[in-house]
Amino acid sequence: MDRRRFLQSTSITAAGLVAPTVFTPANAQARAETLLIVSESGPNNLDVMGVGTNVPGYEASWNCYDRLLTHEMKTLPDGTQYYERDKIKGELAEDFTVGPMSATFKLRKDATFHDGAPVTAKDVKWSLDRAVTVGGFPTFQMSAGSLTKPEQFVIVDDHTVRVDFIRKDRLTIPDLAVIVPAIMNSELCKKNATASDPWALEFTKQNTAGGGAYKITKWTPGTEVVFERNETWVCGPLPKTKRVIWRIVPSAGNRRALLERGDADISFDLPNKDFAEIKAAGKLSVVSTPYTNGIQYLGMNVTRPPFDNPKVRQAIAYAVPYQKIMDAVLFGLAKPMFGAPADKATEVAWPQPHKFNTDMAKAKALLVEAGYPDGFETTLSFDLGFAGVNEPLCVLVQESLAQIGVKTTINKVPGANWRTELNKKEMPLFTNIFSGWLNYPEYFFYWCYHGANSVFNTSSYQSKPMDAFIEGARDAAASGDAATYDTDVKGFVDLAFADIPRIPLYQPYINIAMQKNISGYQYWFHRRLDYRAFVKA
């Protein structure tokens, strides 16, 4: 091939590449009415009550089903729309009253499911019965609000449902506004139920059987989900976006390229580094919001030496390079949970920063006092599924601990194995994250510090006074005794910081980037996207 012919053929190839990017008019029309979202992974089940539904599956459920209740929105000083924890309003319920031992819900009379069937009290009862019966995560989440038995859900008439309380619990009403108690089309589900699958879990895994603002018209697992607006939705203002296409793009670099090139509208859950750079470039709008009730921490197993000694734990807490982690690992995109001024009074709030700071001299002294003048050896474990943050974080901690003579070997645990390792409660030193849907201090503490030793009490921390504070706060919240509640919350926060079985590091942020013409992002406790409020100008 000579030079001339080579040049000719390359230019022909180039022309071939250019041609397909020309949009047809029909495409342009569809583009304007459609929101294209890209994220790393997609749903494995469209029903939040299914067996092993993953977190992206919650997003599908949230947008395709209605609940009895939902939260109001408020605007934060930086302009972000944020859910109001304490302002709950009706969604399918047009009106509701909460009595001392029960709550009554009046359903909207005009609400229908996607197939046109009206939403009635028996659908509500069937759905709530299902949530407390199917087992696994949904049943567990319901029980967090003291909703455990089908007898608690009573049909009063066609459009009225009563929920009886088994005990006073401040979390019962908010628990009816989480993703799990979605109201399903009971007739449609029953038609698709089988003897071995009475709750039609197989059917709702693949199909949406609800009446929510969106319905799924196409789902290619691992590739894309297509949502179309439900034109007859009455539980709120009709969403502005007609169609939402959610594409799974595994490569973070490509997600960013798609966004910067203007081909994608929204990229969900960006790595901190990308987020910081996109923000600096200023071509896209970005939102970063702290996880509600969520903390990344360094945990220690308090049942075994050396971490059974509170002095050792305090020494570690003084040796963590907090600020370095904030700067080098998180690019400043997290809320520090350390270094509160020494004279600052404890607040009735959670999360709040503790008073430890990086102070190697103090750490060394504490270690000597504890009887480890030459330090010791241990392993530091982390979840490889979140290696982007965990790995550099652990390396920094390793470096810093070496300065006080604590030699650590880093143990990388594959994502699939992490939960198993946590359950065993044998790792001596590890970093992990916990965040609760329900944003109440006593809820967090019950899971993470209580002697009932749940999966999330990863340190196996046991303390009678701690249990007393937590239970006291729960009871006080239920009975509305504000003074006792405040004392108990301050009590357990102080104790958690004094005993320091886990060292809070920071409150992580969830990062979203979108085109400048997209508005209406709302932060929800579940942290997934709500399509209903998005507007594409």
Binding site: Q141, P221, S251, A416
Partner: protein
């Protein structure tokens, strides 16, 4: 010929049984607890046990194996927990995507590598020969995900010649009616020029990425094999008889040099099919490789077993095809058995 086919198929049965047993056992000894993974972030030990029971993972291994084999006999490969679909339908949907991409890459590589290899052999020691060596070395030493990202960066991000790397088709285009599962062929059958162009545009970059990677073995083998054939006696005789250079190289030498190339081709193809995981990840290609890896990360047994089994069957079919190709290329093979 039929007898040969039958004999060959018979010998594959022990291999298949081996694959079934090994893939079952291997997935069970993998670290990681499926139930804990799928019980979700807020699971209690009780919830995990419940999930384990629902998935049948609490039963003893022999019993699980029995269930697996019985289901297999019925053509049921089990359920994927990561996608929530039956494994068989997942594989059916994804295999054509991988096969189309791999074949496209391979054909592209062939079109470049074989002429390059032949030319390098004919003009041994020339600039072309050195260029062939340089290209082959570069191609095989660049990791595919790197080449892929580089191509995306230049052709999509900077130059904007290529469409968004979003899988097999643009978001707003619709797939052609399924006949073969290969979009390029299906859109031609449907006489849909627009879809053909769109899917060609999508497949070009990942195809080139794969082609660059597989160029090297094909070009090198072609060159080596051509060299040995060119120095053999029958070629000398042909030259001495005054046949044209073209006739000597193309008709006599090339055909004889093809045998090792076909063997390499089979190996490269099966290797690519499994190894294009990274390319699939970079280009969001809904193929079988990325499917298996995602399942592996989640300790999701059924898809991994299904994937291994599918691959084993593919290898067997491929080897059979290569054997047949041998016979077509080399008449001596026909009388040998």
């Amino acid at each position: 010929m039929l007898k040969l086919l039958f004999d060959r198929l018979l010998t594959t049965i022990p291999a298949l049984i081996g694959v079934i047993v090994v893939s079952f056992l291997l997935t069970r000894v993998l670290p990681g607890d499926t139930a804990a993974y799928f019980a979700g972030p807020a699971a209690t030990p009780q919830a995990i046990e419940q999930v384990r029971k629902q998935l049948g993972l609490d039963r003893p291994l022999p019993e699980q194996f029995e269930h697996y084999v019985l289901d297999l006999a019925k053509g049921n490969l089990g359920q994927s927990l990561t996608t929530g679909q039956p494994v068989l339908s997942d594989i059916k949907a994804r295999l054509p995507a991988s096969a189309e991409l791999t074949l496209f890459g391979l054909i592209l590589a062939l079109l470049i590598a074989v002429p390059l290899g032949v030319a390098a052999a004919v003009k041994q020691g020339s600039t072309l020969d050195h260029a062939c060596r340089a290209i082959a070395t570069a191609g095989v030493s660049l990791p595919v995900f790197f080449t892929g990202l580089l191509l995306v960066y230049f052709f999509y991000f900077i130059l904007q010649w290529s469409p968004a790397p979003l899988g097999r088709l643009d978001v707003f285009a619709s797939a052609p009616n399924e006949v073969t599962g290969f979009y390029l062929i299906d859109s031609l059958i449907a006489r849909d020029g627009e879809t053909f162009r769109a899917s060609l545009a999508q497949i070009l970059l990942p195809g080139i990425t794969l082609a660059i990677f597989s160029l090297a073995p094909i070009a090198r083998i072609t060159r080596a094999s051509m060299l040995s054939v060119l120095s053999s006696e029958f070629v000398r005789t042909a030259r001495a008889s005054g046949l044209s250079a073209r006739m000597v190289v193309v008709t006599y030498a090339f055909r004889n040099a093809m045998l090792p190339v076909v063997t390499t081709l089979g190996m490269v193809f099966s290797f690519l099919l499994g190894a294009n995981v990274l390319v699939e990840k970079v280009f969001a290609w809904p193929g079988i490789g990325s499917y298996a890896v995602e399942a592996l990360i989640a300790s999701d047994f059924a898809p991994v077993q299904g994937f291994v089994l599918t691959m084993a069957i593919l290898y067997i079919v491929l080897n059979l095809l290569i054997d047949i190709a041998y016979r077509l290329i080399d008449p001596r093979m026909r009388s040998a058995t």
